[in-house]
Amino acid sequence: MTWYIVRRFLQMIPVFLGATLLVYFLVFSLPGDATAAICGDRGCTPAVVAGLREQYNLDEPFFVQYLLYLKGVLTFDLGTNFSGRPIATIIAEVFPTTAKLALMALVLEAVFGIVFGLVAGLRKGKLFDSSVLVLSLVVIAVPIFVLGFLMQFLIGVKLQWTNPTVSGDATFTELLLPAVVLGLVSFAYVLRLTRTSIIENVNADYVRTATAKGLSRKRVVVVHVLRNSLIPVVTFLGADLGALMGGAIVTEGIFNVNGVGNTLYRAVLNGDGPMVVSIVTFLILIFVLANLLVDLLYAWLDPRIRYA
């Protein structure tokens, strides 16, 4: 088990190198000169452009730029973005906010998705089942920004239960509404996954055995049916954490959350290579870690799975 975890961590090294190289190359090949974004409408004098190119290593060929960046990373210096701010500082500012938002969304979608899915699965074809199925279909079908603006308008502007936007402090109550919006679509998927999985498993042999043994209905459902049904759901949730962290651009934009998605979006527009690569690398690491966690959870959920 320990060796398995060590091996998984060692595997992260080539993933890190490959991902940074690829992302750096993609940003490098974006059309347009990065100094043009810095100089704005009026443009700069050629001397200023030359100075900027030197400052950000833009006058070097691609591989030299990449190696300089890599050297910085290995010496714990991520460099500065095009506004002259240390990238490490920016990441330290925005990651906690987005992590908080993503975790809140994840918990909401997991709890409500699994509970609703369980109930719907057990009462297949009943009124509750049909109505949550319709509801989840609507949530999946409507684009996220429509839901976002709608909920912001109703709850933030009309009812004034909460502020329409999130302040710099990003408190729990402020993040609740964006977290609901962010988690809504995944909630619908979790619900449907759980429901299908439950329906499959209630008729399985081991469930019949458990019932025949005289176990209480509650114990059969929670320990035997639900636990075994959670494997596809956990796989989905693990992958979803990565998506929630990096994919919150729309939600963060609507609620003005100063998070990873917004920062990444601006950096891409400005062609700010080191900034984009640093953020994406962090996201990749989180993604890989979340997947490791999912794999370890499999063994706990299903004792037949063993790692060596």
Binding site: L30, R42, V48, A50, F82, L269
Partner: protein, 547 residues
């Protein structure tokens, strides 16, 4: 003595006045007493994240500019109408429009206690111009003698020979050539003074700038990046922009739509740009709390002369035809709900010297028949190369340009019956790179917002030969000469006349097709009063009071 009803009232009023003036620091000007606004309220306004450290010469965008304009005070400042008024300057004197003697007012200080002296200006300007500091706004000093040496690529010269400190309160400026409108520029942020501490660690200074303006940073670290910037009044400041409120907090928004939701729910006090999606209904939503105020900015379409169809005599006729095929009145009314004004020339109506009736302005009027005729004349001279149909480029990342570009395209298509289409660029930098490298394959939209209130600012930097923003690569020696003459004129008025004579040439040649003038559309919450927009479309933050 017996108290009468009225004397009780009087004493209550007197106590109230005392209480107000006691907490109102030293705001003894009479103007704020009459309005009855709360001068202690902290006003929350929308802002955007400054893209660079807050050093005057390295800030070239509106997000940082709005902060600098409150934290610093230059030699002059501009009032709501764009009239220049002395700020730190006691006097700016010249006899030949080339040699200036600038005297400063006594007793002005930065908020760290340092006096504002002649060196504060001279050192800041030299820093801004020197190539080794790579300051984005360095070209603002180009008129000063010695700029070329200091700003040349790789130059190690750190001072401009045209600047000389006489004593603490006086310095002289020698320009490379006479320019009568030069003093007008001195209110722009690039010309702000810097205290000595700024040069010790510019990066740290850019995080927590120390200025001499009507406001200062609330504390070290008041700039919470991408979240907000908190400013409080500077009690030492005396001048035309004295704060009428208890502070300005810039809340930073990623997009206007979100800011608008905060405005209508009273979580934001002032919004300076109504998002496109709410242009149609913001007057209904806000009623009395909305404003439309023209400012010194315009929108044009530049057509490069290096494109085959658009050069020479035939090119000129085609440019005129295009211009006359665009129905500016209809587009500004339908698309912008009259939030733009159809252009009559190349500058903006709020400027001194603006003249809507210049000869040639008929080229900017909608006239489809004449347009068709001109196009046919061009065809006779030189047939249109249809393998390269015209495109109108715009950047799709910021601002909603697609809608109006499509409208202009349809106008031209319908009235001239030619192939033409819009060309979106994914990012602004992509469009700018093509323009700088002369790789444009069609026309490019271009918005210009004035740095300082002068006709020249709309002409020189865009249409003079070799100018930095001359996307069309227009070159006309007569035009250049007229501009130089206008700058050298004895007075700004006389200069303006020559600027307008220069405009007549480009109204004929149309290196770019002027479309419309910008109008600021903004609104404010139920909590504030006295919101007014300045000549540059930015609210006069210092004059806003609470309710």
């Amino acid at each position: 003595m017996r108290y009468t009803r009225s004397s009780t009232m009087l004493s209550v009023a007197a106590i109230a006045v005392l209480a107000l003036s006691a907490c109102g620091s030293d705001t003894d000007s009479s103007s704020d007493g009459g309005g009855g606004g709360d001068t202690e309220a902290v006003i929350v306004v929308d802002g955007s994240e400054p893209q660079n450290p807050l050093i005057p010469t390295s800030t070239n965008e509106v997000g940082g500019g709005a902060i600098l304009d409150l934290v610093f005070a230059g030699l002059v400042s501009y009032d709501a109408d764009g009239k220049s008024q002395n700020e730190v300057a006691e006097s700016i004197e010249t006899e030949d429009a080339q040699n200036y003697t600038i005297t400063l007012k006594e007793g002005k200080t930065f908020t760290n206690g340092d006096p504002v002296t002649a060196s504060s200006f001279v050192d800041a300007w030299n820093y801004g111009a020197a190539a080794k500091n790579a300051q984005l706004s360095s070209y603002f000093f180009e008129s000063i003698e010695g700029y070329d040496e200091a700003s040349a690529e790789g130059s190690t010269v750190e001072t401009m020979s045209g600047l000389e400190v006489v004593d603490d309160q006086t310095f002289t400026v020698k320009l490379a050539q006479p320019e009568s409108d030069w003093p007008l520029r001195l209110g722009y942020s690039a010309f702000y003074p810097l205290p000595a501490v700024a040069f010790e660690d510019t990066a740290a200074f850019g995080e927590n700038p120390i200025g001499n303006g009507p406001y200062m940073f609330a504390s070290d670290g008041a700039w919470q990046h991408n979240q907000q910037i908190e400013l409080v009044p500077n009690d030492e400041y005396e001048g035309p922009q004295e704060a009428q409120n208890g502070g300005i907090t810039f809340k930073i928004y990623q997009n206007d739509t979100t800011a608008y939701q905060d405005l209508v729910s009273d979580n934001l006090d002032v919004l300076k740009t109504i998002p496109t999606s709410d242009i149609k209904n913001f007057k209904n939503d806000l009623g009395e709390r909305s404003i439309e105020s023209p400012y010194a900015g315009n929108q044009t379409i530049a057509i490069p002369y290096y494109l085959p169809n658009w050069d020479g005599e035939a090119g000129k006729l085609r440019r005129q035809a295009l211009s006359m095929a665009i129905n500016r009145d209809e587009i500004t009314e339908v698309i912008f709900s009259n939030g733009r004004e159809p252009a009559k020339e190349f500058t903006a109506p709020v400027l001194d010297g603006f003249n809507p009736d210049l000869p040639g302005s008929e080229n900017l009027e909608f006239n489809p028949d004449e347009a068709k005729k001109l196009w046919e004349q061009a065809e006779e001279l030189e047939p249109y190369d249809e393998s390269e149909p015209l495109t109108i480029g715009y950047n799709a990342d910021k601002g909603d340009h697609k809608t109006w570009v499509e409208a202009v395209v349809n106008n031209i298509k319908n009235n001239l019956d030619i192939e033409i289409s819009g060309k979106p660029y994914a990012t602004f930098k992509e469009a700018r790179t093509d323009a700088t490298d002369e790789k444009l394959t069609g026309a490019l939209r271009s918005g210009w917002q004035a740095d300082y209130p002068s006709l020249y600012n709309f002409l020189g930097p865009i249409y003079a030969t070799g100018a930095g923003s001359n996307d069309a690569r227009y070159s006309n020696p007569d035009f250049d000469e007229k501009l130089t003459e206008g700058l050298a004129a004895d007075s700004v008025e006389e200069g303006n006349e020559m600027m307008n004579e220069a405009q007549e040439m480009i109204l004929e040649d149309l290196p770019a097709i002027p479309l419309w003038y910008q109008v600021a559309q903004g609104g404010w919450s139920n909590n504030v009063d006295g919101v007014e927009f300045g000549w540059n479309g930015v609210p006069l933050y210092y004059a806003i009071t609470g309710k």
